[in-house]
Symmetry: C2
Subunit: 356 residues, 2 copies
């Protein structure tokens, strides 16, 4: 106040210091809650900072203490294999942030361009030290990014499992469990010829889903028939295509497990064109994220969970592997298989009669 103008944009901590007639070091200590500063001067500093709208320059801070207070979430902006992005990432993000914000950590999303190799992109981001820790998503069955991050000694967690990351930190939806429970349910309804849709098996999700399905069949003494595994994109288009392929199969399956709700829209359309009605002529079960599928007719039987809470879990897993926060988030294990819940609908609400 003594020195004049008060609302011009702050230039740095130096200005703030001489505005207060205090040394720059004390100001810094005051702002950062460090000891060795009189409680009354701290108040003055905080008040002045608030009034002048001072916010520490992040570059300066990062340079000095080698930390950014930023967590990076890498996503692939539009891969062919993953058209199901939808609100999924935004919902996970919400969960992540609800945890991070408690520690003044900001989350940024790093969208890898489709024309750039994800590995190279991540490498660039890591080298730039744009974030203190990383979260990677859409993990592949073998995924070099795990080694990259481990070698770079940067804390990280994955949204999705991988062979390459078995011993690292991750959280993943329990798609093996979904396939398992779906098969159980369908078998209980009398089905024995059950098809399944999945992404290509180099996407780890695709592998795990089919693997759960295979084991469940085995448990029920039903032979595994590779012809019943229909690889397709997780979109309406993909669902339509699954319908197409299914209709071509000889000894047509009486039930199908879709991996994503969007597929159901296309699948419904396709089989209905052939006069086949879901829930009467064929049983359909799927995973769903948003409250969408219930608007299908007949209502889709599906597995659901709180993707937001999955984000919370993943955030805690990540923090537990960051030295600065690990005490606050002690964990025995840093791998989570996130359960899903069955929401019964009408799309599989019939029992197969023996004569068929």
């Amino acid at each position: 106040m003594a020195h004049g103008g008060k609302l011009r944009p702050m230039k740095g901590i130096r200005q703030l210091a001489e505005h207060l007639d205090i040394s720059i070091g004390t100001v810094s200590r005051a702002l950062n809650g460090k000891p060795d500063v009189n409680e009354e001067t701290r108040k003055r500093v905080l008040a002045a900072a608030e009034q002048l709208g001072y916010v520490a320059n992040q570059s300066g801070r990062s340079l000095r203490q080698g930390t950014t207070n930023v967590i990076g979430l890498m996503i692939q902006s539009s891969r062919e294999t993953v058209e199901n992005s939808d609100n999924f990432f935004l919902t996970v993000t919400g969960g992540l942030q609800s945890v991070f914000s408690r520690h003044n950590l900001d989350l940024i999303m790093l969208p890898c361009p489709h024309d750039e190799d994800p590995y190279e992109y991540l490498k660039r981001m890591v080298a730039r030290r744009i974030a203190d820790a990383m979260i990677i998503s859409e993990t592949q069955r073998v995924d070099k990014r795990f080694d990259l991050l481990a070698k770079a000694k940067i804390p990280f967690a994955a949204l999705g499992r991988s062979l390459s990351g078995a011993q690292h930190a991750w959280a993943d939806l329990d798609f093996a469990g979904v396939a398992n429970a779906a098969v159980d349910r369908l078998v209980a309804h009398g089905h024995r010829r059950i098809a399944i849709s999945a992404p290509a098996s180099d996407i780890n999700l695709g592998f795990i889903f089919v693997e759960g399905y295979r084991r469940a069949l085995e448990r029920h003494g039903i032979p595994y028939d590779p012809a019943l595994v229909l690889r397709a994109k997780s979109s309406e288009q993909g669902g339509y295509q699954v319908g197409d392929e299914l209709l071509e199969l000889q000894d047509r399956p009486t039930a199908v497990i879709l991996i994503y709700e969007l597929m159901a829209i296309g699948f419904y359309r396709r089989v209905m064109e052939a006069g086949i009605i879901p829930g009467r002529d064929i049983a359909v079960v799927s995973f769903r994220e948003a409250p969408r599928a219930k608007f299908l007719q007949p209502a889709l039987t599906c597995f659901r969970t709180s993707v937001h809470d999955l984000g919370v879990e993943l955030a805690e897993i990540l923090l537990s592997s960051m030295p600065a926060y690990s005490q606050e988030y002690p964990r025995k294990t840093r791998q989570t298989v996130w359960p899903l819940e069955l929401i019964p609908g009408e799309s599989d609400a019939f029992h197969l009669t023996t004569e068929r």
Copy 2:
């Protein structure tokens, strides 16, 4: 090579310099394509940097030259009003990046937590100087963020119009045009009582959409009836609710304009429950982003565009207002109303007979 170990993690430009027995200044100039450096030593430097995996520390660089080479895209991670995010943002992001990557600019997404005020969040990000320029989205009818960014003198562009940003840079889907064309088409088919769904009018999109609708009606001499404006969320749920409300209306409309394709799923479901069939008993027109709606039965008549190209346009608009790039992207105007194209379906493919 002279000095020994070659694959340990680079610590800085200094290491690289003494590895080459060159001064640190020359190395920097070589890497950044500055003049005053022998073409052959430049090659040596680049080779060594590549081999040792050296990447400039971003904090140091930012601190020195006050620039980050990063563009920030602010999104609201999960507002009530916008449940239609879908792949929209990810697709726009793809378009943005295809332009930015040509200039070594990296795009990061800044998701505002739902429990934080978007204005405050943006203020924080700006103060942190986390990016050289900003793109904001989901603009409100009055949106303080425009003033904030203008006052901070940081280059920016908006995905969406706003009263507050009339003279700033933006690109927006032509929803007024959609409403206009939709009314034209429906009137040509004999409809005169046309309902419309839209988000709340403080979301600028909601205002513009209804305004286009109102003017089109006016042009056709049809009185504007506020009761036919059905405010709802842009989701399946919202569509279901629109169906609900529409069925309650006295002198029931013969046509409805939905603002988002997802709504059609819920809307179809609701009216079909009442025995009313889209494309026969009621005409439906909508906007669509993804190739989804065609899987509805009957196929939805809708307006479509390349959201990717919209991203490209927006990127160019932004660059044109950044001093460092404005010469490369000269523009007469920095405001774009992005056109959409009509994709005829069956959901409005009938003419209203006079007797009704």
